[in-house]
Amino acid sequence: METVKKRLLTGNKAMAEAIRLEMERDERVFVMGEDVGAYGGIFGSTQGLFEKFGTKRVLDTPISETAFIGAAVGAAAEGMRPVAELMFVDFFGVCMDQIYNHMAKITYMSGGSVKLPMVLMTAVGGGYNDAAQHSQTLYATFAHLPGLKVVAPSTPYDLKGMMISAIRDDNPVLFMFHKSLQGLGWMDQIDAAVGHVPEEPYTVPLDKAKVIREGKDITIVSIQMMTHHALEAASRLAEQGIEAEVIDLRSLAPLDKRTIIDSVSKTHRLLVVDEDYLSYGMTAEVSASVCEEAFYELECPIGRLAVPDVPIPYSRPLEKFILPCTEKIVNKVLEIMKE
């Protein structure tokens, strides 16, 4: 019965559908970026939009991220609702000024008199040997700086719902999508990249983490690709009688501390798993927040698993070694349970 109702979509189709629906609903919404037109976005995030809306509302740009992201800021200030794409988050360095000094700060500097209803979407993640300049997530790089809502959905359902929320939000949203979860034909085919997506428009909040598996022994906080590894790890651990509760953070800023603390208050143990660099990263913020607000709930040290502060290496065995994965999560949990 249930299966009959399922409407399976890949992550990128879910995203593109969300954008299409909002473009149909609100003519102020438009898309711009590199290869978002005929190509449909290198990672398929704008598939079919060009065919439907044409060159007036789906704009291929030159390789000028500062100009077109800054133009999105300027257009948003005029009441438009741009959805701009930074092809890989790794390229942020050529346009970060527009992102963090303008897109993120203008509302505040103007005392709230200027609003910037815009979305900057960008592809993150490694695992396919694209090396040091095309494999990063950089979650904390954006979450650290005030003025942006920073989200990183991990399922087709959330990709659609959070994209609709992001486009409708009157604040700038940095929307990070994971390449491996787009369901691209030319990438590793993983189940997590496909999921049920209702046809109609719906929203998913931009500020709520989600418990995606309940458990009583330990809490695993993770995000995007890592949540799927965490789920696998949890089922493996279950075979050994360890019930791990898995939280999909979904939003990096604001950080939903409540959901994390409620879980830790139940499990009294915590492992934080991240695909970003370890130091000064998401694992640090989650750990420090719990330590500050739920210290007495903790039975043992908080575990952290992330990229060990090296650039992402190219060669397969090297990249495998530095990326967190199911097996590493399992081992780390077993360590923590020994405490």
Partner: protein, 327 residues
């Protein structure tokens, strides 16, 4: 093409308003910074970049703009703001850090936003150009004949944002005008030491667009050149680069020792004060001394009122610092 006398009067009055506004700011900024200058103390703390001498660039083009046209300005924004018609009380109040300011005291002198007249500015060199491109794009998408003007200094022409923005605007034939105020310096660095071309209108070639050079800080020539550029923009004929040779009478910022330029440079420039030159033109056109004097005094009282409003306004509550990150 002769300039309507009403426009000349408006330019004159506005230049006087700007000049008097900045002279008043020199004093306000100095308050509480004596005997020892301390950038963080006094009625108006922080950096202060004034525009005395650069009025022609602002009035020459703003004479052609309406509230629907967009202006983005750099770190030295007062003349542009005043010429664009930004609320003078709220602007001054913002610079004094008061709750009645444009940004409730959060932005300050380099971050003035007045959506009513589509004015904004910022502290990052060249960063305002892309914003103007976006405003021009919005106008085009909505089939309006609105234009967007980005003011920058000559030093900003060597920033990547300048190039990316002009290429994009030219490519999409957007109603963008980039006005380059060549005041000879980027802080202490002379133009010849920062820019590989003698004049930036030459760079229009790199974007297949129109470029114009206004010599010697001439407000009337600026008016004429701008009229053409604005007309082209409104007609969908794409962007223009206008460079104007202008004068920076003061330091880069207040407190600048100015060791990098000759002591007699400014006096020489002041002999060519564009306000006095325009005044002469008006007198030749049989505008009476009296009329000019009354114009001068009316703009002065407007400015005085703005400073009074700012001084009498209250500071924001400290806790207000936590508001307005998001709407």
């Amino acid at each position: 093409m002769s300039v309507p006398v009403e426009k000349l009067k408006w330019m004159y009055a506005t230049m006087c308003k700007i000049r008097y506004y900045e002279e008043s700011m020199v004093e306000a900024y100095a308050e509480g910074k004596k005997p020892v200058f301390n950038i963080g103390s006094g009625s108006v703390p922080g950096e202060m970049h004034l525009s005395n001498g650069q009025e022609p660039a602002a009035v020459g083009i703003c004479a052609h703009l309406t509230d629907e046209d967009t202006v983005t300005a750099p770190h030295r924004p007062h003349h542009h703001a005043i010429a664009k018609g930004v609320d003078l009380n709220k602007m001054t109040s913002e610079i004094f850090g008061k709750a009645t300011g444009l940004g409730k005291g959060k932005g300050g002198h380099m971050h003035l936003f007045d959506p009513r007249v589509k004015f904004s500015c910022g502290g990052i060199v060249a960063a305002g150009i892309p914003h103007a491109v976006g405003a021009a794009l919005a106008a085009k998408m909505n089939d309006r004949d609105w234009v967007a003007v980005a003011f920058i200094g000559e030093g900003a022409t060597n920033a990547g944002a300048f190039h990316e923005s002009l290429n994009l605007a030219a490519l999409w034939k957007l109603p963008l005008i980039v006005v380059i105020e060549d005041n000879s310096y980027g802080i202490s660095v002379a133009k010849k030491d920062s820019t590989a071309v003698p004049h930036n209108d030459l760079r229009a070639t790199a974007y297949n667009i129109e470029g114009a050079l206004v010599k010697d800080n001439d407000p009337i020539e600026m008016y004429r050149v701008s009229q053409e550029a604005v007309k082209r923009a409104r007609n969908g004929e794409g962007p223009t680069i206008i460079e104007i040779e202008t004068y920076r009478f003061l330091g880069h910022f207040q407190g600048d020792p100015e060791l990098y330029r000759d002591k007699d440079e400014v006096p020489r420039l002041q002999e060519k004060d564009p306000i006095l030159r325009l005044k002469k033109v008006l007198l030749e056109k049989e505008i009476s001394e009296d009329e000019l004097t009354s114009m001068e005094s009316s703009v002065k009282s407007e400015v005085d009122e703005a400073y009074r409003f700012a001084r009498e306004s209250a500071y924001p509550d400290p806790e207000d610092a936590l508001r307005d990150v998001f709407v």
